[in-house]
């Protein structure tokens, strides 16, 4: 314990004259810390953002309200026609940035379930012009049915405040989960797997 007397509150210390008996360790410690922190910041930078928040809804555990409406292709789309599959009812608008972000995840989800035919995405337009949405889908891909919902009735039935919002519906038509914000393909997978394991609504 070498004791340099340093009792004055504001000593005018001669800078840059470290005690010789002590090796300079601070720069090395600082360097190590800096490396760790840079790694940490890089990690945070690359995270996509867990915006999908599973949220409560009075509909959960209850039969989903019937959804019918004109599809973008002119046919009539009905939710009940998809009984027997898990349905992800996705409220969408082309002006909504997170909706664009989650589009790849929806494509991935659709591709994974195409062969088995056990899950299906249904989009509902939230306050957007069908023509714009049609062009948008042509440009970005996605072959799932899109319901126009011109009066916003479906959004009201489901209590949707703003896109993106999604509801996972069981094969028997029971609402399982409400997701506010962007969906994530991996989270959707685990939600479906979990529902299958519990045998919910099948």
């Amino acid at each position: 314990m070498t004791s340099t007397i340093d009792a004055r509150p504001e000593p005018a210390e001669p800078s840059g004259a470290p005690d010789r008996r002590r090796p300079r360790v601070a720069p090395w410690v600082a360097l190590g810390l800096a490396v760790v922190l840079v790694g940490f910041v890089a990690l945070l930078y690359t995270r996509k953002g867990a915006d999908s928040t599973v949220a409560p809804s009075p509909l959960i555990g209850k039969p989903a309200p019937e959804v019918t409406g004109p599809g973008l292709d002119g046919s009539t789309v009905r939710l009940s026609a998809y009984q027997g599959r898990y349905v992800l009812l996705n409220f969408f608008a082309s002006w909504c940035v997170p909706c664009r972000n989650e589009h790849d995840d929806l494509l991935k989800f659709t591709a994974r379930h195409q062969a088995a035919g056990d899950a299906q995405v249904l989009a509902v337009i939230f306050d957007d012009d069908p023509a714009t949405v049609r062009t948008w889908f042509q440009k970005n891909g996605g072959t799932w049915p899109v319901i126009e919902d011109p009066n916003g009735k479906v959004s009201l039935d489901f209590g949707v405040r703003g896109p993106p919002e999604s509801f996972l519906i069981a094969p028997d038509g029971t609402v399982l989960t409400r997701i506010i914000g962007e969906v994530d393909a991996n989270v959707l997978e685990s939600l479906v797997a979990q529902a299958k394991k519990l045998g919910a609504g099948s």
Binding site: M1, T2, S3, T4, I5, D6, A7, R8, P9, E10, P11, A12, E13, S15, P18, D19, R22, R24, V25, A26, P27, V29, A30, L31, L33, A34, L37, V38, F40, V41, L43, L44, Y45, T46, R47, G49, A50, D51, S52, T53, P56, S57, P58, P98, L156, F158, G159, V160, R161, G181, E182, D184, N186, V187, S190
Partner: protein
């Protein structure tokens, strides 16, 4: 009009802060004292700008100016007055505005407090740092920047808005919790700025530290109050019967609290013995960095949380700022760290400084555990793409032993003398606290408390409470009411508050019970020994919502009204709990489901939460204790801290003198 006012205010603050940075930089580098004087005047411009911007925002909210996107998105004509005012901090952009206002207040306070030392380079660098922080936050709000609160709606101006999130317009605490939290959060900028100033100038003695300790204490007190109010709000509003869920955003407020608490303890070792300087400085720097990191967690939507504001482009900005801050301070420490190394060392682990060291190890471990739990989902996702959540079990398991160890330290540390304690001295000083601990343990067993962890907690709480009371009794016996003020005595009041909170926390975690009963009007049920009678419901319409309020009589006494409210624009019904608050337990009622038929049965959730009221009372103790600790004690503070062992001085100080010196600022 409001937008112009607001944007003008933000711009004024931004320019003034930037001018402050430049003026100080030139003044410091070229050594022009006149410039250093001049720079202090810019704080007033920053404040005026912030006030004008806040006025613009409040005016827009109060006059329903829906041409502002912020107002159109987050307010409504029918929103009650209090919540219109509070909507300013109810969403992202406005909360940054509140941040800016609080920061400018702290800037002015800094200049007023140190007005005699404006030419001191250390103060100059500190002020420069604080100005730089202000540049960042006002820059975030500048026109077109990601958190511009005064952006206009594009297209047609709506006639009405959706109103604030229903959860934010349903309890008056919403008006108080965020400002308190921000006063704490932002307040850490001041000690941070002084730490940077000390590092840059290389004047690493204790002088600046004595000056800023009270600032840290002030910020810490506000943060503590803010956290307790937040817990209270979530208890009164969210309806799940709990008050703390280890949610990422709760953790974000808790992390700087932990490091600041560690600092407030270890700074005494530095003042007294000149040790732990690098460590103390690091704690201050870490505290500020953690507030920025917490802001990033809250605002970027990178973590799942009930509080998270929706994702906005602000995330990368805050993260960049965080990176700049941490790399700067790490660089500064690397540069100056070796000059900071302390001359002394700890003589004996059984001493006051040994206890403070243990305290710091525990708080650091606590902070690490909480930080790890908060970011662990991100680490896992980066590693293998899985989305996981770290829930309560992790936090409960990891923090319980730390909490218990801290309670033990709280019991023993206040009676330990500096340097070295003899066994004999300890046994005399610990008699009464130990007796109090045993009594608390026996009493809790007699009252039916079971379970290892809660019993240990109650026993140690008694022990720690005994120590704190002993200290206060000794001090007041000697100094009268003066024995309640000053750092050590105020600190003991804070300890009592924390002990009360710990007991209430342990009890409600261990013995809280929940059940649901289905009742038709007029029917009763007995739940956990309480007779719950449902007497029908009222349908009410308020300007901003319509509600079904159940009338529930508890134990034949007063009627409580748990409710389900529906807000226009929000289809989801919001439950409002109603709480029969008691000294020993709360009966917490929620209306789980109801139909519109008055004769139909309803489901009522009944939560029994022991001792919850004591959480808020404990919070009050913490607030009072902090205030007492801010008042200077009777003894003037030591100008020259003892840093080297003086021969003959390291014998144990006799009890009375010791207590007096603790009673001061020593």
């Amino acid at each position: 009009m409001n937008a112009v006012l607001g944007q003008g205010g933000v711009l004024l603050s931004l320019l003034a802060a930037a001018a402050g940075v430049i003026t100080l930089a030139v003044g410091l580098v070229r050594r022009r004292p006149l410039l250093l004087d001049a720079a202090t005047r810019y704080v007033w411009l920053v404040l005026i700008g912030a006030l004008v911007a806040v006025a613009g925002m409040e005016r827009a909210l109060l006059t329903d100016d829906f041409s502002l996107k912020y107002v159109a998105d987050h307010s409504a004509r029918s929103t009650p007055l209090l919540f219109k005012i509070a909507t300013m901090w109810g969403a992202l952009e406005g909360s940054i505005l509140l941040w800016g206002l609080v920061l400018s207040l702290y800037l002015v306070a800094m200049v007023l407090r140190f007005r005699d030392r404006t030419r001191d380079p250390l103060f100059g660098w500190a002020l420069l740092t604080a100005f730089a922080v202000a540049v960042f936050f006002f820059g975030l709000m500048a026109r077109g920047a990601p958190a511009d609160p005064f952006a206009l709606v594009s297209g047609r101006i709506p006639a009405d808005g959706p109103g604030p999130n229903p959860l934010l317009q349903n309890h008056p605490l919403m008006a108080f919790h965020p400002p308190m939290l921000y006063l704490g959060y932002v307040g850490f900028t001041v000690p941070f700025a002084f730490a940077v100033g000390a590092l840059v100038t290389g004047r690493l003695g204790e002088g600046w530290l004595v000056e800023t300790r009270r600032w840290t204490l002030l910020a810490w007190g506000f943060l503590s109050i803010g956290i307790v109010l937040g817990a209270w709000w979530s208890y009164e509003v969210l309806g799940w019967g709990g008050f703390w869920a280890w949610d990422p955003v709760e953790n974000a407020s808790f992390l700087p609290w932990l490091t600041a608490t560690a600092y407030l303890h270890s700074v005494m070792v530095q003042e007294r013995r000149g040790m732990l300087r690098v460590w103390n400085l690091s704690l201050l720097l870490a505290t500020f960095s953690l507030t920025i990191l917490g802001t990033f967690f809250t605002r970027s939507g990178v973590l799942d949380s009930v509080h998270a504001f929706t994702r906005s482009p602000i995330g990368p900005w805050i993260l960049t700022f965080f990176a700049v801050v941490v790399l700067t301070v790490v660089g500064l420490i690397g540069w100056r760290g070796d000059q900071l190394r302390s001359p002394g060392s700890i003589d004996s682990p059984v001493s006051r400084e040994g206890a403070f060291l243990a305290n710091n190890v525990l708080f650091a471990a606590f902070a690490f555990v909480v930080l790890l739990g908060t970011v662990f989902p991100l680490l896992v996702e980066a590693a293998n793409g899985d989305r996981i959540t770290v829930g309560r079990p992790y936090f409960d398991r990891m923090t319980t032993p730390l909490g218990i160890a801290l309670l033990f330290l709280m019991a023993v540390a206040p009676v330990l003398p500096w340097r070295k304690a003899s066994g004999e001295l300890l046994s005399t000083r610990l008699v009464w606290p130990a007796a109090a601990g045993t009594a608390a343990l026996v009493l809790s067993v007699l009252l039916g408390a079971r379970g290892l962890a809660p019993l240990i907690a109650f026993g140690l709480a008694g022990f720690a409470g005994g120590s704190a009371v002993r200290q206060l009794v000794l001090a007041t016996r000697r100094q009268g009411w003066h024995g309640l003020i000053g750092r050590a005595n105020g600190g003991m009041i804070v300890h009592l508050g924390i002990i009360v909170i710990a007991v209430a926390f342990a009890a409600s975690q261990a013995y809280g019970k929940r059940a649901e009963v289905r009742l038709t009007p007029g029917q009763s049920a007995t739940v956990f020994g309480h007779r719950i009678t449902y007497e029908g419901f009222d349908s009410k319409t308020y300007p901003n919502r319509s509600a079904i309020e159940a009338k529930v009589r508890v134990d034949g006494g007063a009627t409580y009204r748990p409710a389900l409210s529906t807000y226009p624009f929000f289809t989801q019904a919001i439950g409002t709990p109603s709480v029969d608050t008691g000294v020993t337990e709360d009966v917490y009622l929620t209306l789980v489901s109801a139909s519109s038929d008055p004769k139909a049965p309803v489901v009522i959730g009944v939560n029994i939460q022991p001792l919850v009221a004591w959480l808020w009372i404990g919070g009050g103790f913490v607030a009072i204790g902090t205030l007492m600790a801010m008042v200077p004690g009777r003894r003037r503070r030591p100008t020259a801290p003892v840093s080297a062992p003086v021969p003959g001085a390291d014998d144990d100080v006799p009890e009375p003198r010791q207590a007096v010196s603790i009673g001061g600022g020593g």
